[in-house]
C-alpha cells in the first residue's frame, strides 16, 4: 500500500519548516530563515523535488487499522490513526502532512490558521485561572500541564434557512365599564405566523475524538478569517479529517437552529399578546441547509492534579480558554461563610443606620 507524504524543507539548509501563526509565514528553526508560502512553493518547483511515495506494510493484525508513513527527513517509519492528516515526526521533529488523506470530499473548504502562538498560551491560561475563587491553592504548584498540542479540528459549518408556520397560543385583555360594573374580557387566540430566517456559519465539530461541549464552548470563531485550504497551514500542527459526516451532525445543528427560531419568532412576532406559549401544531421546515467542511485551530492539553486529569482547550484564533477546574471543598465553605458574614454585616449596618439608630 502506498501512502503520500508531504513535508516542507528549508530552501537554505534543508531543515523542517514550521508554520508561524504570528506572521502567517513558514519559519526554519535551524537557520532562522523565514519564507512566504509562495516562496517555498517556488523553491520546491525549482528543485523539482518529488514528494515521495513510500511503501507501507502492515506490521501485524492489531495494527491493521493503522497506517505507517516514512518520514522524508530521517527515514523513520511513523504510525498514525486513520483520521490524522498531519503530524510531527517523533524522531526528527519534521512536519508530515499525509496528503493522500485530504483529497476529494475530504478536502477542507477552508481553514482558519492559528493566530495564537504556543508562547502566548501560559499567559492565556493564567488569565483563565484568575478570579477563580474556588480553585485549590496548590493547583498551580502541584499540577502538571501535559503536552500542548495544536490541532486543526474538523468542523462542519452549516448555513440553515428554516421556514414554516409557527403557531402560538396567546391572550390579550380588554377592560371597559358597563354601568356599575367593570368588565374584563380575557380573550384567547391562536397566533399563526409564517416565518423564514437565515443562519450562517454555525460550527459543529466533526471529530469523534473531540468532546462536543468542549468544542461548543470555544465559540465564537471569526469566519471572516477563513482562508482557502493549503497544506502549508498544517505544518507543525496535528490535523484530523472528519469522521462524523454532515448529515449525521445536522440533527445537532438543527436543535440549535430550532431553539433560536422559536425564541426569535416569539419575541418579534407576537407583540400585543401575553402568556404566549408554543402550540404543538407548528410546522417548521429545516431541510434547507448546506454544510462546508473546515479546519479550525484549537490547542488542547490536560492538567494533572491530585491524581485527576482535567481537559482544557484554547481557541487558536481568539485565545479563549475553556475547561472545567477542580473546586476546593474547604475553600467553597469558607467562601460561602465569608460572603454570608459580609452580607449579614452590611444588612445589619444598614438596619442600624436607617432604623435602629
Amino acid at each position: 500500500m502506498t501512502n503520500n507524504v508531504s513535508g516542507r524543507k528549508c530552501p537554505n539548509c534543508g531543515s523542517a519548516l514550521h508554520y508561524d501563526p504570528e506572521n502567517g509565514n513558514l519559519r526554519c528553526d535551524f537557520c532562522d530563515s523565514v519564507f512566504t508560502i509562495e516562496q517555498v512553493d517556488a523553491a520546491d518547483r525549482d528543485q523539482a523535488q518529488q514528494v515521495g511515495s513510500m511503501n507501507f506494510t502492515a506490521g501485524n493484525e492489531a495494527l491493521q487499522n493503522l497506517k505507517a508513513y516514512v518520514c522524508q527527513s530521517c527515514g523513520a517509519e511513523v504510525v498514525c490513526d486513520p483520521q490524522t492528516v498531519s503530524l510531527v515526526c517523533p524522531y526528527c521533529g519534521s512536519n508530515i502532512v499525509l496528503s493522500d488523506k485530504i483529497g476529494g470530499e475530504l478536502t477542507p473548504d477552508g481553514i482558519i490558521p492559528f493566530a495564537i502562538t504556543p508562547k502566548a498560551l501560559p499567559a492565556a491560561v493564567r488569565s483563565f485561572y484568575k478570579g477563580k475563587k474556588l480553585l485549590p491553592r496548590n493547583f498551580f504548584s502541584d499540577s502538571s500541564i501535559g503536552t500542548v498540542q495544536g490541532v486543526y479540528v474538523p468542523f462542519w459549518l452549516y448555513d440553515s434557512n428554516p421556514a414554516g408556520e409557527i403557531v402560538f397560543n396567546g391572550s390579550c385583555d380588554r377592560t371597559y365599564r358597563d354601568g356599575d360594573y367593570v368588565v374584563t374580557e380575557h380573550q384567547n387566540y391562536e397566533l399563526h405566523r409564517s416565518i423564514k430566517m437565515s443562519f450562517r456559519d454555525i460550527p459543529t465539530d466533526a471529530s469523534e475524538r473531540m468532546e462536543d461541549a468542549l468544542m461548543d464552548s470555544l465559540e465564537p470563531f471569526d469566519f471572516k478569517a477563513l482562508k482557502a485550504f493549503n497544506t502549508d497551514y498544517l505544518a507543525g500542527y496535528v490535523a484530523d479529517r472528519w469522521d462524523k459526516n454532515a448529515k449525521e451532525m445536522k440533527a445537532r445543528t438543527d436543535r440549535r437552529v430550532l431553539n433560536s427560531t422559536l425564541t426569535i419568532a416569539m419575541s418579534r412576532a407576537t407583540a400585543g399578546f401575553s402568556d404566549v406559549t408554543l402550540s404543538d401544531r407548528s410546522q417548521l421546515d429545516m431541510s434547507n441547509s448546506t454544510a462546508r467542511f473546515v479546519l479550525l485551530p484549537v490547542y488542547v492539553f490536560d492538567v494533572k492534579w491530585n491524581g485527576e486529569k482535567y481537559s482544557f482547550a484554547v481557541n487558536g484564533q481568539t485565545g479563549k480558554v475553556v475547561g472545567t477546574l477542580p473546586e476546593d471543598a474547604a475553600l467553597k465553605r469558607k467562601y460561602f461563610w465569608k460572603w454570608a458574614a459580609i452580607g449579614a454585616a452590611v444588612i445589619m449596618a444598614a438596619n442600624w443606620l436607617l432604623f435602629l439608630q
Binding site: G131, K132, K133, L134, L135, S160, E165, R177, D178, D180, Y181, V182, V183, H186, Q187, N188, Y189, E190, L191, H192, R193, S194, I195, K196, M197, S198, F199, R200, I202, D212, A213, L214, D216, S217, E219, P220, R256, N259, S260, I264, V321, V322, T324, P326, E327, K332, F336, W339, A340, A341, I342, G343, A344, A345, I347, M348, N351, W352, F355, L356
Partner: protein, 474 residues
C-alpha cells in the same frame, strides 16, 4: 300634628290673603315678618309642591319670621311631648349659639332632592337670625324609598361665603351626621333630633360639636391670650385609669423630668378626642391648658384615648429633641410603652415605661429599640447573609465550569433575514369577569358610625341664597 298644620292653613286661606299677595307684600330682607307667614303660603289647587312652597318664586323677598314654627313635623314623627322637648332644646341652643335651628319632617319630597327641600323650606319661610339669616335646618324625609335627611346651613355658617369662626365644614358635617345616623336607622327620631340639636348648639358655641369641658367658647377663643398655668396638673387623668398612688408617682416623675430638662412633661387620659382628631385634641389641651415652659412653651404631652378608635398622640412644642418629632421614633416609643402596659395590665406601668424612654430621648435625643426589634433585625440580617453567601458561592462555582453545550444559534442569525411572510390571529374563546364597582357620582365623606354623607361646601338654592349642607340616606 299634620291635622294641626292643615287647620292653620285652612284658617289662613279662609280669612286672609292669597299666598301670591303675601309674598308681594313681604317685608324687605331682615325686616320683621308677620308671625303667621308660614300659614299664609298655601299651595295652589293640584300643586305638586308642598303647602309652604310659594305659588311663584319670581320677585320673592326674603324676610325674618321670629314666630315661624321651628319644628314642622309633617311626617308626624314626634309626639306632642317630644315636639315640646325639641322646641325647648331649640330655644336653648339657638340662643346659646346665636343662630336659628329648625327641624322639618315630611313624608313627601315632592320630586325635590333632600337638599332642595331643606334649602327652599328655610329660604321661603322666613328662618334665620339677622340680616344674613344665620341658621341651620334639619330636614328628615320619610318618603318611602327616599328616606334620608339633609342638613342645610345659611348665612355665616356657609364655609364658602361665611365670615364667622363657626362654619359647616365637611369634618363638622361628618361628626354631626355620624352621631345622628344611629338614631335614624333605629327609628329613635325624637331622641336623635334632640341629640343633634345639642350637638349643633355645642358646635355653634365652641366651634366643635363635642367640645370637652375645658374647651373655650368661640368668643373666648377670639379673645384668647395664651398664658402659662403653673397649677395645671401634669397628670390629667380624665378617663380615670390611674389610682391615686399611681397618679402621684407619675406626677412626681413627670415633674422631675420637667425640672431636669426644662421641658414640661404632661400626660392626659380621656375617653375620646371629642371628634376633633387626636392631634388637634392634644394641641388644644396643651395650649388651652396653660402648659409649656419658658417663652417658647417647651413641653411634651402624651394623650391617651380610650373611646372611639382609641390610640395615642404625642404633642410637642418649643425646644424639644428632634427625635420626639420623628414619626418613626415616636411610634416606637409609644409601642414599647403600650407593650409594657399590656404585659403588666396597667396603664400606669405603660406610663412608667414612657417616662423612662422620654428621659433617654430628652437626654440623648435617641429612642432605644426593643429587644424584639434587635432580634428581628438580626434574623433578617442572618437570612440576607445566607442568601448572599449562597449567591456568591453559586456564582463562583459557575465560573469554574466554562464547558457548556451550545443551546441556540442566535449569534449566527443573518441580520435582517427574519421575515413574517404571513400572519393571522384566530379567536378561540373569551372569559369575561364583571366586578361591581359603581362610579363615584357625588362627593361622599367617610363615616365612623355607618353610612356616608354627601356634602356640599357651598351652593346656591332656587331662591338665590348660598347654602352648605350634608345628608345621608337611611
Amino acid at each position: 300634628m299634620r291635622k294641626k298644620l292643615w287647620m292653620i292653613l285652612l284658617l289662613a286661606a279662609a280669612l286672609l290673603i292669597p299666598a301670591g299677595r303675601a309674598k308681594a307684600d313681604a317685608p324687605l330682607l331682615g325686616s320683621p315678618a308677620p308671625a303667621s307667614d308660614i300659614s299664609l303660603i298655601s299651595p295652589a289647587p293640584g300643586s305638586d309642591k308642598p303647602a309652604w312652597y310659594p305659588e311663584s318664586t319670581a320677585g320673592f323677598q326674603f324676610f325674618n319670621d321670629a314666630d315661624a314654627p321651628r319644628v314642622v313635623d309633617t311626617a308626624d314623627l314626634f309626639t306632642d311631648e317630644e315636639e315640646a322637648a325639641i322646641l325647648k332644646a331649640i330655644g336653648e341652643q339657638s340662643a346659646r349659639g346665636n343662630a336659628d335651628i329648625v327641624v322639618v319632617t315630611d313624608d313627601n319630597a315632592y320630586g325635590m332632592s333632600h337638599q332642595e327641600y331643606a334649602d327652599d323650606f328655610y329660604d321661603y319661610n322666613g328662618y334665620g337670625f339677622g340680616p344674613g339669616r344665620d341658621g341651620i335646618v334639619l330636614f328628615i324625609c320619610m318618603e318611602p324609598g327616599n328616606r334620608g335627611w339633609w342638613t342645610s346651613v345659611a348665612g355665616r355658617l356657609v364655609p364658602s361665603t361665611g365670615d364667622g369662626p363657626v362654619r359647616y365644614t365637611e369634618a363638622i358635617a361628618n361628626q354631626l351626621d355620624d352621631a345622628l345616623y344611629g338614631y335614624m336607622v333605629s327609628g329613635r327620631y325624637a331622641e336623635g333630633v334632640t341629640d343633634w340639636i345639642g350637638n349643633v348648639g355645642t358646635w355653634l358655641t365652641y366651634g366643635v360639636p363635642f367640645a370637652p369641658i375645658w374647651y373655650p367658647t368661640v368668643e373666648e377663643q377670639a379673645g384668647w391670650v395664651r398664658e402659662k398655668n403653673a397649677d395645671a396638673p401634669r397628670i390629667s387623668d380624665t378617663a380615670g385609669w390611674f389610682s391615686k398612688s399611681e397618679a402621684k408617682s407619675l406626677e412626681e416623675k413627670a415633674a422631675a423630668l420637667s425640672e431636669r430638662y426644662g421641658v414640661d412633661v404632661v400626660i392626659h387620659t380621656a375617653r375620646s378626642d371629642c371628634g376633633m382628631g387626636k392631634n388637634a385634641y392634644a394641641k388644644a389641651f396643651y395650649q388651652y391648658g396653660g402648659y409649656g415652659l419658658f417663652s417658647d412653651y417647651s413641653g411634651v404631652l402624651l394623650v391617651m384615648l380610650s373611646g372611639g378608635t382609641g390610640g395615642y398622640a404625642l404633642y410637642t412644642e418649643g425646644d424639644v429633641p428632634s427625635v420626639l418629632k420623628d414619626e418613626g421614633s415616636v411610634a416606637r416609643l409609644l409601642e414599647m410603652s403600650e407593650n409594657d402596659a399590656y404585659k403588666a395590665d396597667s396603664a400606669a406601668a405603660g406610663c412608667e415605661t414612657y417616662l423612662k424612654l422620654l428621659d433617654k430621648a430628652l437626654k440623648s435625643n435617641k429612642v432605644p429599640h426593643s429587644t424584639g426589634s434587635w432580634i428581628m433585625s438580626g434574623v433578617f440580617a442572618a437570612l440576607a447573609g445566607l442568601l448572599s453567601g449562597g449567591v456568591s458561592r453559586g456564582s463562583a462555582a459557575a465560573s469554574m465550569k466554562t464547558v457548556r453545550t451550545a443551546f441556540d444559534s442566535n449569534d449566527y442569525l443573518v441580520d435582517g433575514s427574519f421575515q413574517v411572510v404571513n400572519s393571522y390571529d384566530r379567536f378561540i374563546d373569551v372569559t369575561t369577569t364583571r366586578v361591581y364597582s359603581p362610579p363615584q357620582q357625588n362627593k361622599s365623606s367617610g363615616s365612623g358610625s355607618g353610612g356616608s354623607s354627601t356634602y356640599s361646601g357651598g351652593h346656591v338654592s332656587s331662591s338665590g341664597t348660598s347654602h352648605a349642607g350634608s345628608g345621608r340616606k337611611f
